[in-house]
Amino acid sequence: MTERAWVLCWRLLILVVLVGAWEWLTGIKAISTTPGLYWIDPFFVSRPSVILRRFAYLASGEVRLSIWAMALSTVQSTLWGFVVGVSTGFAAGLVLGRRDRLARVFEPFIIAFNSLPRIALVPLITMIFGFGLLAKIVLAWTIVFFIVFFNTFQGARGVDADLIHSARFLGASERQVMRTVIVPSALAWTFAALTPSVSFALIGVVVGEFLGGETGGGLGYLIIQSLGTLNAADMMVALLTLGVIGIVMALGIKQVERRLLRWRPEYRTGA
């Protein structure tokens, strides 16, 4: 058996055991005189079979706001927040990383803003941008920007001075140094920030959706709705869907990274 198949087998096994135990433990009654008492109460954690049924229902056309529409809304806001956050964070990191004076000027502002708990901004952002897509994107941006910014900043600062010198001796202009030396060496640092950035973008978006109501759509809305109706199954549908979205996005980033950083020894293929 290849290494890959072995890993895959174990993953599958763990999944089956977990889901099986969940289904089984929430199905057996506790030995107790009190009727309806379970070992693990499906009221709180639901059961895989029930979740599946709810998922099928929510995915059907019978509901006003289907799970597809909600997932799409969440993915859309996350991607936008991610893209805007990464590009602005990267640009700011490059500029401040190479301009010592400017970095010193901005340092206290950046630290102050970054230490604000972003969740505290939610009401304000909602007040300004309303309940829709825009508020969620802004919220995701406020988190992603800083993660990417700090990493790129470090990367741009740490560029080997001799690499810059050798580029200058080969005739590079200031801009060519930026393009051929600073950007590629900072990129390795930036990429390290991207996978956590996806998770944080999702956090921003879901928190935005908690407050956003039906206009914002989204899986966060489904979670809050289910809390209102004490419906654990629907909540689980939302959570599992979020998990799948997170995995798919992380894998996508890995692919891009593998291509852009293929010069690094750890991505070297056999050829």
Binding site: H165, F169, L170, G171, A172, T180, P184, L261, R264, R268
Partner: protein, 268 residues
Amino acid sequence: MEAVHDVSFEVADKEFVAIVGPSGCGKSTILNMLGGLVTPSEGAIELDGRPVADVPPNVGYVFQKDTVFPWRTVRRNIALGLEYRGVRGDEQERRVREGVRLAGLEGFEDAFPATLSGGMRQRVALMRTLVVDPEILLMDEPFGALDTHTKLTLHAELLSVWEARHQTVVFVTHDLSEAITLADRIIVMTRRPGRVKLVHDVGIPRPRDVIKLRETEEYAHEYSVIWRVLGDELAEPGGVQGDMRNAAAAHLGSGHPPRPPASRPPLE
């Protein structure tokens, strides 16, 4: 901290000058000043009669440290200087191919530096500098990190390029054999703060065979003459460095200069 003190010398057009001295004597600082990376606190560096302020054009610099860009393939590393100067298309491709051939790296054009040996990477760095045809070449212990065999091969390659194009070269090294093999003139530095201790013309005719050279009388003579001066510098307290210490001590103790080390390089 003062790295060098009252250092003054001239390098003629098309001349190959080597600067040798103990570690920390400011050899690299001199080179950095020549290249415009460091501004001298006193005095001036002049190039063709004009003071050097910034990195001058037509000057190539080869570092001891590996400065090949790891995110570029061999081909794209060698193309760097041409790219910066706006040489594109067929012309770029032709000159890069020529560079790859001279570096003996055919078949490795699309390899990333991480897959190459130290010697191959230094070849790329050297060729990347030579492909834009600089008139002046500053080299800071470019082969310092390489094994003897690779070093000798690169000496031969450097000499053949130099015989063909006759760049003005300033070559910093702590390896006396290397200096004698390559240079027309050798500048010996004192310990820190470095001063010029000796300027010596190497009387070995060209073209030189980097391997046979080491068995000749002339080579042994040049070596002992310079070693007598350099060895003193190494033996003084505080100036003793690394593995040269024993050689220098032996020289002082026995009263005659040590034989040049590695007179027979390990070739297959």
